[in-house]
């Protein structure tokens, strides 16, 4: 076993890699960061194709 200390600050994605993931964001809260995240959530959720 090789134990390596790593940084948690940086995720694996970079550049144009990756895509949106639907994780439900609270509709109300106390911070601007949350309000911005919720606005982005609504924008992306509206793009979902729900056809089955």
């Amino acid at each position: 076993m090789i134990v390596i200390e790593t940084t948690a600050a940086v995720g694996p994605g970079f550049g144009d890699a990756g895509h949106w993931w639907d994780v439900a964001v609270p509709a109300t809260g106390d911070t601007d960061a949350l309000a911005q995240a919720y606005a982005h959530y609504l924008t992306m959720a509206a793009r979902q194709s729900l056809i089955n």
């Binding site: 076993m1 994605g13 895509h19 056809i51 089955n52």
Partner: protein, 559 residues
């Protein structure tokens, strides 16, 4: 067999009959389908099943693990490593032992992988009710703890009479060897019935071969799929785990090459094609490559082969803007996203499609693929500074050291990072990302190493997942099952912390620094693994990320 022989019987306990029958169920190539039985005994399985397993000996070997859930993880990884062509059984006693296995049953259920759970159960006779560990239902006398398995297995049966095995066992095998219904089975085995004698037909124990069928496509479905492909300008293939379960890797490689169709990968389908295949554009979706997602977004037809179309593959249904053809042996999956269905075995379907398409070739733009792979190399290069390395840099170091190994993982940062960045050799990837179960990794690596002794198993695990379940490391040491663990310690649940912040939250209860603890932990993982007999080393940040000239020694045990 003569009429007289057909009537011959043999007197065995129900448990003895179960293990004898399992020992003669064979694969096409003559191997036991159920390789053996992981067992932790309690009063619910030690006397009946324990005696039977001891008696059958090497004809159906028994292995002791440390935890019922993680024993099952090993069994599931074994089945996945064998492409569902072989499996293992797991047995536990009637209470916490069996409910410990429920999470693993769900894992196998989601991933469509075979495993046989033999869960001890309460007395069928009800004589000692309530027996130790019996969950009593006030309003239902038939309920036991094992009813928790019902939603998470493909077949459930409670054996309350010995002769139930005459139907239950063949049904169990049929489910585990059915390519469309494949998944876990639970036989809840009442402890008094295990020990009860019965006169069994000798013919019941005749060796039997279980052939895994390859359903051919319906002619009309095939014709509709062919018409759609011929009308397309820029189709893209989504390669799911069903390609591997079908053994269709080479068929897909040939199909993609002949027709020049880009292939993008799911977690379960990754490494069906090596990353080096010219049509492999890499991972799809949330943790997808720039080249793959660009191809997917620009496609005018998606060929979804052997995939559940999990949200990570589809960008939670925002990535594809094209109609789908669902090529799947399971109609439930084939019809998702309103797809035009092509219900068939993947290998047979690909051959049928290519027979109809002839020399049809598309002209995908392959420049983004080349640019993406160059960018991955740069992103995963050894760090120049002295700071802690990123997960990408660790992946790069392991990639350079062991390019032909099988990278495996289940939860945390590494599954997405590996799907995105690991440049797999053919068959060089094993990810449990249907259930993404923390604690799968160590035990799963053991099961995978049992299935694939020809390959170096590279178990990536974060500190969080390691802390959730690690004790099968001791089992691997005892059984001398070699694999290499790469433990990345970022002092908490780094992946979910980033998600928490990304969702507008504040860092809370994920990293140790953000938890309600009186003292920050200083967990010595080297000492911990060493105490179980594993050889462990701590890598200084910079040297581990430098390119090496040869692989690290595999799974080194203390000598």
């Amino acid at each position: 067999m003569t009429g007289q022989d057909m009537n011959a019987t043999i007197r065995l306990t129900a448990a003895q009959a179960m293990v004898r029958w399992l020992s003669v169920q064979r694969t096409d190539d003559g191997a036991r389908f159920i390789d053996g039985v992981w067992a932790i005994f309690g009063h619910g399985n030690v006397a009946g099943l324990g005696q039977a397993l001891h008696g059958i000996g090497d004809a159906l070997p028994t292995w002791r693990g440390q935890n019922e859930q993680t024993m099952a993880h090993a069994a599931i990884a074994f089945a996945k490593g064998h492409g569902r062509r072989r499996a293992q059984a797991v047995t536990a006693s009637i209470g916490p032992g069996s409910t410990n296995m429920v999470t693993a049953a769900a894992l196998a259920h989601v991933n469509r992988l075979p495993v046989l759970f033999i869960a001890g159960d309460v007395f069928a006779s009800r004589r000692p009710d309530p027996v130790l560990q019996q969950v009593e239902g006030f309003g239902d006398g038939t309920v036991s703890a094992n009813d928790c398995f019902r939603p998470v297995v493909r077949y459930f049966d409670r054996i309350t009479r010995p002769e139930h095995l005459l139907t239950a066992l063949p049904r169990a095998m049929r489910v585990m060897t059915d390519p469309a219904e494949c998944g876990p089975v639970c036989l809840a085995f009442c402890q008094d019935v295990q020990a009860e004698a019965y006169d069994w037909p000798e013919a019941f124990f005749a060796p039997r071969i279980w052939h895994i069928r390859r359903p051919a496509p319906d002619a009309d479905e095939l014709a509709r799929a062919v018409d759609l492909i011929k009308a397309a300008k820029a189709p893209v293939i989504v390669c799911g785990g069903g390609v591997i379960h079908s053994g269709a890797e080479q068929a897909l490689a040939d199909f993609a090459t002949r027709h020049a169709i880009p292939v993008i990968e799911t977690q379960a389908g990754k490494s069906a094609l090596p990353q080096a295949h010219p049509m492999n554009f890499g991972a799809a979706g949330v943790d997808g490559s720039a080249a793959a997602n660009r191809a997917a977004a620009g496609a005018d037809l998606i060929l979804a082969i052997g995939t559940r179309l999990q949200d990570f593959t589809t960008g939670s249904r925002t990535l594809f803007d094209a109609p789908l053809i669902g090529i799947n042996v399971q109609p439930h999956d084939a019809a998702k996203h309103g797809a035009v269905t092509l219900v068939a075995d993947a290998r047979v379907a690909l051959q049928a499609l290519t027979d109809a398409l002839g020399d049809l070739r598309f002209a995908p733009d392959t420049d983004p693929r080349a640019a993406w792979l160059a960018a991955v190399d740069a992103h995963c290069a050894a760090p120049a500074g002295d700071g802690l390395p990123t997960d990408a840099q660790v992946i790069g170091a392991v990639q350079r050291a062991a390019p032909d190994g099988i990278a495996m993982c289940a939860a945390g940062t590494m599954p997405g990072a590996l799907k995105l960045l690991w440049q797999a050799a053919q068959g060089g990837y094993h990810m449990e990302y249907g259930y993404s179960c923390m604690g799968y990794e160590i035990a799963g690596a053991m099961g995978l190493a049992l299935a694939r002794p020809d390959r170096q198993v590279l178990c990536f695990v974060g500190d969080g997942s390691y802390m959730m379940a690690n004790s099968e490391l001791a089992t691997a040491v005892m059984r001398r099952i070699p694999f290499t663990v790469i433990l990345t310690d970022n002092r908490g649940y780094g992946c979910i912390n980033r998600l928490q912040v990304g969702c507008g939250g504040v860092p809370f209860n994920n990293m140790y620094a953000d938890c309600n603890v009186e003292a920050q932990p200083q967990i010595d993982f080297v000492a911990h693994a060493g105490s179980m007999g594993a050889h462990a080393v701590k890598a200084p940040p910079s040297p581990i990320c430098r390119p090496r000239s040869r692989p690290p020694a595999p799974a080194i045990f203390r000598r």
